[in-house]
Amino acid sequence: MPVHPRRAADAASSETVRLQGVGFSYGDAPDVLRDVNLTLPRGSFHFLTGPSGAGKSTLLKLLTLAARPTRGVVRLFGEEAGGAPRRALPAFRRRMGVVFQDFRLLDHLSAFDNVALPLRLAGARTSTYAADVEELLEWVGLAHRAEARPPALSGGEKQRLAIARAVIANPELIVADEPTGNVDAAMAARLLKLFQSLNRLGATVLIATHDEALAERSGAAVLRLENGRVGATA
């Protein structure tokens, strides 16, 4: 029988993410994350900053269940997720949207099909999502590139496409790794507005970035990851 996170249970929970004493290391290498304790309340908006190698990407991997913690507990939507069986992972992942630093687009699919991918994988028919995909492509300024494939897109276009794919299914949790790293300031501000809009609609947002100025300008809470620990919040 498939295992699904129970929405009834998390309805009572006010936390989208809770990390307790989480540590992580790659094989026998020294710990990348040490005793990370972190809570993202439902509907919160956070930036995650820190120097290169601080473990930001690893932390995001744990949140997206692309990696399992070496120790500690990862809870998502009120459910234990870090040690959940493999068959339970798709249900968690369908409730989150992820923007990867390296975009992770499918080169053989058009921009339209890349954005529609999470919906298609969930079994939706084209007729039910085509208008939403078109609207979102319009919003991120890629309507004219809907039939283009990722290799034909610029870095900024790929990034916007990755963001569109991450938010198309109205996820409860949005995790983005440097989502404004390849776009100009105007587009960065526009994309930030998109994340803020989704946050106002109830999504919990965590954005990892080097751009501390952007984080400060946004007025959102900032988590600082240093030496494998979430050291301070601003």
């Binding site: 498939p2 997206t64 692309a66 069986p85 493999r86 068959r87 992972l89 798709p90 992942r93 369908r94 992820v98 990867f100 992770r104 687009l105 499918l106 080169d107 053989h108 699919l109 058009s110 339209f112 099909d113 991918l117 999470p118 298609r120 994988l121 969930a122 084209t126 085509a130 078109e134 492509l137 309507a143 809907a146 039939e147 794919r165 299914a169």
Partner: protein, 292 residues
């Protein structure tokens, strides 16, 4: 406004390298499997035909009484057996007919001096044939010293041989199906290894293992159905040619070809697709679960 065609692009990219190779292998295997199946059907039909023919006749060897000629004894036996229930017709073989039967093997030189058995051919009723015991009893009651051979020994041998051929053909069919499954398994593994980054993206976007396995299952199932259709079509064409050129006997009476055999092969693509579906799904799920 973006124009979308009704047809969705496949989620998995086409593999230009491996798929034509796999399609060729499956087509050849399907062709061989079809020939094995057709051979089994033909052998079974021939054996049953022979067994039926043997079962419809009995041969009686008559030993004349002292002072009685062989021909007279055979005629008396034929007359006796003609009145038995389950016998349609009897015929006493005269010496000339018996010599004609033996001439191809013995030649003319020795035949005139050779003592030949006095035989009666009995054609039995197809629906209610008289048994060897009934025939023997009737002859004994009529005072005819004779041995009845109902060909049961030969019939059993023919049926056993046909059964063996059918089992061998079935084994050949299963082996080719196994080889097709192995080829699909190998191709699925290779495809998944080459597309590991894509599988990761699908997984991170919420695809379950069953959904991903379903993509490979569909791909290789369709490929096997197409390749199987090509292989089956080639086998059907070859069989139809044999039936057309050779008539009911095909190339040899031992393997008579029927038009129904040709049509029976049309299910082969479905079987090939089923084998591929099962092999691809099982392989994909095993590989995905092995990554946990």
């Amino acid at each position: 406004m973006i124009r979308r065609s009704g047809r969705q692009a496949p989620i998995l990219p086409r593999e230009a390298g491996g798929e034509p190779w796999l399609a060729g292998v499956i087509a050849v295997l399907c062709f061989l499997a079809c020939l094995a199946a057709a051979g089994a059907m033909a052998a079974d039909r021939a054996a049953h035909g022979w067994a039926r023919a043997l079962g419809a006749e009995a041969t009686v060897q008559v030993r004349p009484r002292v002072g009685e000629s062989g021909a007279t004894a055979a005629a008396r036996a034929a007359e006796t057996l003609a009145g038995v229930d389950g016998v349609d017709e009897t015929e006493a073989l005269d010496r000339k007919t018996a010599e004609a039967l033996l001439r191809p093997w013995l030649g003319d030189a020795v035949l005139p001096d050779l003592p030949l058995p006095h035989l009666v051919t009995v054609r039995l009723n197809r629906d209610h044939p008289a048994s060897a015991v009934t025939l023997g009893r009737a002859l004994a009651e009529a005072g005819v010293d004779a041995t009845v051979d109902d060909h049961s020994l030969w019939r059993t041998e023919v049926e056993r041989s046909a059964g063996l051929i059918t089992v061998l053909a079935g084994a050949a069919f299963l082996l080719t199906a196994g080889a097709a499954a192995a080829a699909v398994t190998y191709a699925t593994r290779a495809g998944m290894a080459a597309q590991a980054p894509i599988i990761l993206i699908l997984s991170l976007n919420g695809a379950s293992d069953a959904r991903i396995a379903g993509l490979y299952q569909r791909r290789y199932g369709l490929l096997a159905a197409g390749a199987g259709a090509a292989g089956a079509a080639a086998a059907m064409a070859a069989l139809a040619l044999l039936r057309f050129v050779g008539g009911r006997d095909g190339i040899t009476p031992a393997l008579p070809v029927a038009w129904s055999d040709v049509w029976a092969l049309s299910s082969c693509p479905l079987l090939a697709a089923t084998v591929a579906l099962v092999a691809a799904r099982w392989t994909a799920l095993a590989r995905l679960r092995g990554h946990d």
